[in-house]
């Protein structure tokens, strides 16, 4: 029988447009910038093409999930910390923002940055005991955090208890709301992409690769993990703060399972470790989930099955696949 294998070759233009050489011609330049421009412009144009208010609202929600997915991907693939507790970040950020807004009457544009930073600090502090843990253990503990916080709020009747905090200010209008979250997603997307390529990002990857060697190099891994968790929690809390101002309400449903599971599904489907992938995944998954809203919890079934199928059969994800197709020729050759 004739045996064949798939041969992959880098496109010439990829090799030529490496580094500074991209400036040599428009062709190389556009090869590099086109995908980024398409993404950025696509996201910016989105609110205009949405048919009605409902779908414009969906755009905001998508962006918040994209932020969460970004935070999950950053922690999981650059630090090796798999966090199943995205809802915890949303909840902390949301409650802080809501309290600041209703108690002190601060405007959303003040509360959101404060909630982001304070929330990130709070999350890092609460997660600090778990930082030495790896793999399964960290996942398990983070899975329990949102549930436990929810129970504490119910039990002690904190912050309005099961009723939540009502009457949170909204954004001035829906355009501001959408472009604010869109700007945040783009900012954090390109921010984290830049971060992971700096020397600090390299240390993060080293912690994931081999923490013993990092210790032997005279660096405290807990310190670097704490920094990374702070950054990731910041993204989550930012999302939480935004969501509170979008829905004008903060309550224990901020700890809902959706916030933990959709970002993971988005990351897996979009392609883990690429940072763009999770954002893309969120833009695919969340609208579908909105379409399925009338089926109730069936949508959770849907995206857990999608998640499972992707992780088992196509674990590379859309983004990695797309990158490969973009950068390489593939052809079958005889062995």
């Amino acid at each position: 029988m004739e045996q064949r294998r798939k041969e992959r070759l880098d496109r010439g233009v990829k090799v030529r447009s490496d580094g500074l050489y991209a400036l040599m011609s428009w062709r190389e330049l556009s090869y590099l910038t086109l995908p980024r421009l398409v993404l950025i412009l696509g996201i910016i144009v989105l609110p205009f093409v949405m048919p009605n208010m409902y779908w414009q609202r969906v755009i905001s929600i998508v962006c918040i999930y994209a932020l969460l997915a970004l935070s999950f991907d950053f922690l999981a693939h650059f630090l090796g910390l798999v966090s199943l507790g995205g809802a915890f970040l949303i909840g902390v950020g949301g409650y802080i923002s809501a309290i600041l807004n209703t108690t002190f009457g601060l405007s959303p544009f003040v509360t959101i940055p404060i909630a982001t930073i304070v929330g990130a600090a709070v999350c890092t502090l609460l997660l600090f005991p778990c930082l030495p843990l790896r793999g399964v253990y960290f996942a398990i503990v983070t899975l329990m955090y949102p549930l436990a916080l929810k129970r504490v709020i119910e039990a002690l009747d904190l912050f309005g208890g099961t009723n939540g905090i009502l009457g949170v200010d909204s954004f001035p209008n829906s355009w501001v709301e959408q472009y604010f979250v869109i700007a945040m997603v783009l900012l954090f997307l390109f921010g984290t992409r830049r971060l992971v390529n700096t020397d600090l990002g390299l240390v993060f990857r080293a912690v994931k690769d081999n923490d013993q060697a990092v210790k032997a190099s005279g660096m405290s891994i807990t310190y670097y993990k704490a920094i990374a968790v702070f950054i990731a929690s910041g993204m989550g809390c930012l999302g939480g703060a935004c969501i509170v101002h979008i829905f004008m309400w903060s309550g224990i449903s901020l700890f809902a399972l959706d916030f933990s599971i959709i970002p993971i599904a988005a990351t897996v489907i979009g392609g883990g470790g690429t940072l763009v992938g999770p954002v893309l995944g969120a833009f695919i998954l969340v609208p579908i989930s909105e379409l399925l809203r009338e089926f109730g919890t069936l949508r959770i079934v849907f995206y857990s099955l999608a998640l499972m199928a992707f992780i088992v059969f196509r674990s590379e994800g859309i983004m990695v696949y797309g990158e490969r197709k973009y950068h390489q020729f593939e052809r079958w050759v005889k062995v």
């Binding site: 020397d199 013993q212 060697a213 660096m219 405290s220």
Partner: protein
Amino acid sequence: MSEDQPILQVKEVTKAFGGILALNRISFDVHEGDVLGIIGPNGSGKTTVVNCITGFIKMSSGKVYFRGKDISGKPPHKIADMGVTRTFQIMRPYYSLPAYKNLVIPLFSPRAKRTGGWRGGGKLGDRNTVGIDILEEIGFERDSYVPYKTASTLPTGYLKRLELARCLALKPEVILCDEVFSGLSMSEIASMVPLIERLQMDGITVVMIEHRLRELFRVANRVLVMNFGEKLIEGTPDEVMANEKVKEAYFGSEDVEEVMTHA
């Protein structure tokens, strides 16, 4: 007196795993500029000594002093930060990173920022360049593709060098080498020996765990023999070779010379 103070003092270090004594009251001193070889049969506790000194495992009792300061019980990164570094027996490079990027990580550490890397003094330059410089000094050919290859594709010889390079990036005062020669071919070992000698000339104190006695005896000026977690004897290479107890414990009935020529 201070000149005579040993750079590393190990005092009565004991380590028990469950009920088994892996180390039983081990004491020894290392003086500045020494190359101390630690030899002993498999399972005699050599690696455990290194682990205890560098803080990777907590000793059950005993003290370790570095320049008169008590470092026992400190976390590994603090000890490394003081200048006591180690290599791992099973190499632990960052497999997903290129070789020179492997060095960017230790160069990012607080100690390297203070000292400026192996040859550096004061401010650290661009980490990538410094990393490649160190790799070149340790035997990675600069103009070849080797320093840019991903660590997972490098052969054992280069990985062992990389381990050593990672220590050197910290500008250490003491390096504890855990079997840097094992798994290497004769020619690779032959090229590693001058490297160790160079470290010595740079004033770095070296503690080597080794099975390759011939090469070890060439570079070491003191040798410590361990057996079943206990210190058997300590002395110059000649004294150790001549010792009857060592012959019995370590080499069985064989003649030392014969073992060394076969080793």
